[in-house]
């Protein structure tokens, strides 16, 4: 890959929450880099740290109970974790745009949509009211909301769920950020609306060229839009690499389990097999199991998995940049027919 420094460089990020029941180590040493214009899909279930690590790097984890216990997040030559809140506020919204799951609770119900899109422009770009409103109209156009000029003066409840998410994307893109972070941005939407939003984001990416971090639990969405996919479990990255390599040749048993547990849309009822489920539940992060946190649910686990956490390392026999955390050799085990 190129020699230029990455757009975002996350190094050994760790986040903990202090609760009555003990300390939850929600993120445990997460490191990765994102190139300019790259789309990274992050997959994981609740408690995997996929959302929390992003909130932490934007300074959005409430303290207390949250604590950043280590690491650096280098963006545009600065460590975001070392910035004072005032400077961080200039990064959020201006250089990094954000879109969250529920547009209704992210939008202000008492403020017109136009004013909400204009807000980051006035705040970060110092535009006057008239200029900001004109830009807001352009942005509503950009996210394909018809009759943008008229609808600027409407309130969020006058928009449908999909349109509200389009408004959120317009706000996220208002200042032409270099990075757009979408956290389960289409999870609450109908599948047809999700398809529209995914298509929209892809078009905008072609027009604007920003990098994207797309956090989701839907492997299908990631397959279509991501260059790189990163699978997280129990606060760690367990596998990461070019999307084609990871989907066709998974090396971590959790990745394999996720891919195999999905029913095949093209397979008829005749001759279908029982769904291959992952046994057990995600770990209680107050008391994570020793070693590889997935070991108790992993049919391929070796004794070493139960005592020592495997490092995330380049996979032998796959493309450069395909990394996995596993003590076992998954392709060899699958060839032997082990673990079902």
């Amino acid at each position: 890959m190129s020699a230029s420094p990455p757009l975002l460089d996350v190094r050994d990020l760790a986040v903990a929450f202090d609760t009555d029941g003990g300390t939850v180590r929600a993120v445990n040493g997460v490191s990765y880099a994102l190139r300019e214009g790259e789309t990274l899909g992050i997959v994981g279930e609740s408690g995997s740290g996929k959302s929390v690590h992003v909130l932490a790097m934007l300074g959005l984890v409430p303290r207390p109970p949250g604590r950043i216990t280590g690491g650096q997040v280098v963006f545009g030559g600065r460590d975001l974790l070392a910035l004072p809140e005032r400077s961080l506020r200039r990064v959020r919204g201006a250089e990094i745009g954000m879109v969250f799951q529920d547009p209704m609770s992210s939008l202000n119900p008492a403020m017109t949509v136009g004013a909400q899109i204009a807000e980051p422009l006035r705040l970060h770009r110092g535009l006057g009211a008239r200029e900001a409103k004109a830009r807001a109209r352009d942005l509503l156009d950009l996210v394909r909301i018809p009759e943008a000029g008229r609808r600027l003066d409407l309130y969020p409840h006058e928009f449908s769920g999909g349109q509200r998410q389009r408004v959120m994307i317009a706000i996220g893109l208002a200042c032409r950020p270099k990075l757009l972070i979408a956290d389960e941005a289409t999870t609450a939407l109908d599948v047809t609306v999700q398809a529209e939003i995914v298509a929209l984001v892809q078009e905008l990416k072609r027009e604007i060229g920003m990098a994207i971090i797309w956090i989701t639990h839907d492997l299908g969405v990631v397959a279509g839009i991501a260059d790189t996919v990163q699978v997280m479990y129990a606060g760690r990255i367990v596998e990461r690499g070019p999307v084609d390599a990871v989907f066709s040749d998974p090396r971590n048993a959790y990745t394999l389990g996720l891919l195999r547990s999905l029913p095949d849309l093209s397979r008829g009822r005749a001759g279908r097999q029982r769904l291959r489920q992952i046994e057990g539940s995600p770990p209680d992060m107050r008391f994570p199991p020793p070693g590889d946190p997935f070991a108790p649910r992993n049919p391929y686990a070796t004794p070493r998995c139960r005592t020592e956490a495997p490092p995330l390392a380049q996979v032998a026999g796959s493309v450069p940049g395909h990394l996995a955390a596993a003590w076992y050799d998954l392709p060899a085990l699958l060839a032997e027919g082990a673990g079902r």
Partner: protein, 307 residues
């Protein structure tokens, strides 16, 4: 309307749920038709899937056929009895045979009731003659049946994971040996790695107990996997109804096509090709749904209504 081979367990005809709308300053009253003219059968041991966008009336139908929110029109015949005309007392007895599983197991559970007491409650209400020991044994057997350790009976809902809570709800639902369960988005709130567990459990219980399901879901992959037949809903009406292989392989209604065409495929090359194809495909106008016509045996498609 629909000729069926075995006697259906549940037979819904022209189901409607209308809400009167009246403007607050007293304008002319109108009616919002949340569900209109919906008919289907469910055979013993069969799973019927109900899919469609949010607001299409899926959950309304689920609540109407169980009389939790009774319909305003049509009939719901269950095991030969029209539920919509049943007196409340008889309906209470009928509830042993019909159960519901909801999306959010945490909201369905009582936070101050232990898991064991929660699963035992149907026995207390409907089988008061049961002794304590007998009830304890029955609850332990149910725990085991849904894959929970009976030793967890003394725990409270917050001590369980999401998947375990849904197992508790399922244990309670099967306690009185029902013949029919409405499962309203039962896996939507669960982690991906847990969804397959719950679907497998539902399927095992169906085989073991001969249950019929009305499976309401927006997960089109899981619906194809689990359901024998599928009804597609749009704006309160069925637009297409067929056995699941036919519906997924040969969808006829433009809305069914749009819905199925929007499902992402977890295979990068195939999914990129699908996105490209969708980008280039022209948008198809979807007509309002009229009466269903049987275009092939068991394959019903709504005919367009031209205004």
């Amino acid at each position: 309307m629909r000729p069926v081979k075995p006697e259906p367990l549940l037979s819904v005809r022209n189901l409607g749920k209308h809400y009167p709308l009246r403007h607050w300053w007293g304008g002319k009253a109108s009616v919002f038709r949340a569900v209109e003219g919906v008919s289907f059968d469910i055979a013993p041991g069969e799973t019927l899937g109900l899919v469609g966008e949010s607001g299409s009336g899926k959950s309304t139908i689920g609540r109407a056929v169980t009389m939790l929110n009774p319909p305003t029109a049509g009939t719901v015949t269950f095991e030969g009895t029209d539920l919509s005309r049943l007196p409340a007392r008889d309906m209470r007895r009928m509830r042993r045979r019909i159960q519901v599983i909801f999306q959010d197991p945490y909201a369905a559970l009582n936070p101050r009731m232990s898991a064991g007491a929660y699963v035992a409650e149907p026995f207390r209400l409907h089988r008061p003659e049961m002794g304590n020991a007998e009830r304890r044994d029955a609850v332990a057997a149910l725990f085991q049946r849904v894959g929970l350790d009976p030793l967890f009976a003394g725990r409270y809902p917050h001590q369980f994971s999401g998947g375990q809570r849904q197992r508790l709800c399922i244990a309670r639902a099967i306690a009185l040996k029902p013949s029919f369960i409405v499962a309203d988005e039962p896996i939507a709130a669960l982690d991906v790695s847990i969804q397959a567990q719950v679907v497998n459990l539902l399927q095992d219980l169906q085989e073991e107990l001969g249950l019929s399901y009305l499976f309401i879901s927006h997960d089109l992959r899981m619906v194809r996997y689990l359901c024998h037949r599928v009804a597609v809903l749009r704006r309160g009406r069925i637009v297409e109804l067929a056995d699941s292989d036919t519906l997924y392989e040969d969808p006829r209604h433009p809305y069914t096509r749009e819905l199925l065409g929007a499902v992402p495929v977890p295979d990068p090359a195939a999914e990129r090709a699908r996105l490209r194809a969708t980008r280039e495909a022209p948008a198809v106008a979807i007509p309002e749904a009229g009466a269903l016509e049987e275009i092939a045996p068991g394959h019903w498609v709504a005919q367009p209504v031209h205004a």
